[in-house]
Structures are given as structure tokens and as C-alpha cells.
Symmetry: C2
């Protein structure tokens, strides 16, 4: 039974993430960035194949900027790069998790994490960040 | 200066997440689920406005299933619901973070997290989950 499962798995399991990746209609997957040491979720970005290849090769997070429609090496202007410790994929291969060692704040507002606001039951927004957010 | 910043913030800051939310072309935002106690990232789902309203009201995670094109109350068939402890939004209001107290495994494979496989530098996949994944 164990052998049969292994054989079946070998027959159907893709060998690499690039065989398995399920891109959306825009050719992208969501990528969650988590601080490897503290566990804090820092940001969500999007990746196309090239951004993922670059991330794996350079061990620094690279995304596809949906607003600018170009590759975005995180920190290329700010210096606040995300050094990649571990990359994971989910059960559907349509989301990526990057466990990172961040240099500086991740958010462009200078907050440690982009998720610096809480949402109340009624949808109300409240600041819960480092207190330096400007927007 | 402090007063002026506060006034400006009052003038431009949306009062609720529903004013602020930036949906993609499909009317969705990504929602990251994190175990509130352990910090483990459990899954990524997508939400439309209604899924977010339901999540906030019922304090249980509800998503929009992109594959089935319908609302998906997580755990409605498996019983493995995600009780919501805290909801956060990101700087762009195009991603949501749900800090949850999960009942049972989150992944349909019975893994604790959907992110049970690591990706090597060459893109190779390796199991790093609880060892019960069937696919």
C-alpha cells in the first residue's frame, strides 16, 4: 500500500514548482511575506514566473508590480530588501509563502508590516502599527 | 505639526474598510489566514465584499471560491472552521489578514497548513508538513 502510494505520487507529482504553478488570469500568484524569526506577516505581493525564478536565484524577494506592470525587486530604491530564508507553496500551488529576514521596515509608510490597521466588526479602521504610518 | 497631520488624516482617511477596499479586476482581495496563537500561516483565500461582511459579522472566515464561483464558508462541509480573532488590512487595502483560532486542520489534505511543501533554490518540491498530505 505504501509502495503503491509512492508510485502513484511519483507518477503525478510535479518535480518543480514551475511545473506545478497555477497562475491566475493575469499570470500571477499571490506571495505572502512572513518574518522568519517573529512570524509577523509583513506584506502580500504578486509574482509571475520570472519574479519567482529571480526570488529563488537571488534569495531576495522579487515581485510583479500590478500597478506599474513591471518586475519589482523589493527594496531596489528604499534598500529595505527581504532576504529569503525559506520558500513554500500551498496545496493548490496558487500561493507562495516567503519566510524572510527583512532589512528595515517592509511597508513604504515605514511601518514594520503593511498590515498596521485593524478592522472592527463594523468595518471601522484603527491604527495598530508602529505609529509612523503617514497614510 | 501633529495637529495638522491629524487633520489631514481625518480628511482623507476612509472611515471603514468598505470605503477603502481596492478590489482587483475580478472584484476580489487576497486574504491571508494566520494562526493567532502560533503565528503559522495557514492558507490564502480570496474575498469579495460580501465574504468580508460575513466574516466580520459571523467572526468566522468566509471566502469567495474562485474555482466554484460562490461564497465559501470555510469548514461548512468539513467542520474545520476558522474562528476570527482579529482582522487587519494592508496599506493599499488590497489584502486582508485574518488572525484566527482554527478548529482542526485548515488544509483539505488534513495538513495543519496549506503551505506544507518547501521550494528549493532550483524549484524542487519537498514535503515539510505533518506528513498526512495525500496530494
Amino acid at each position: 500500500m505504501r509502495e503503491r502510494t509512492a508510485m502513484c505520487a511519483d507518477a503525478v507529482t510535479p518535480k518543480t514548482i514551475f511545473d506545478a504553478l497555477k497562475l491566475d488570469a493575469s499570470g500571477l500568484v499571490a506571495a505572502v511575506v512572513q518574518n522568519d524569526k517573529t512570524g509577523q506577516v509583513l506584506m502580500v505581493g504578486y509574482m509571475n514566473r520570472e519574479a519567482l525564478e529571480i526570488t529563488l536565484r537571488e534569495r531576495r524577494a522579487c515581485f510583479w508590480s500590478r500597478s506599474r506592470q513591471k518586475l519589482w525587486r523589493k527594496g531596489e530604491s528604499s534598500g529595505n530588501v527581504l532576504n529569503v530564508v525559506e520558500v513554500r507553496t500551498d496545496c493548490d500551488n496558487d500561493a507562495i509563502l516567503l519566510k524572510c529576514d527583512p532589512v528595515g521596515p517592509t511597508c513604504h509608510t515605514n511601518e514594520t508590516s503593511c498590515f498596521y490597521r485593524t478592522v472592527g466588526d463594523d468595518g471601522s479602521l484603527a491604527l495598530r502599527g508602529d505609529g509612523v504610518a503617514t497614510e
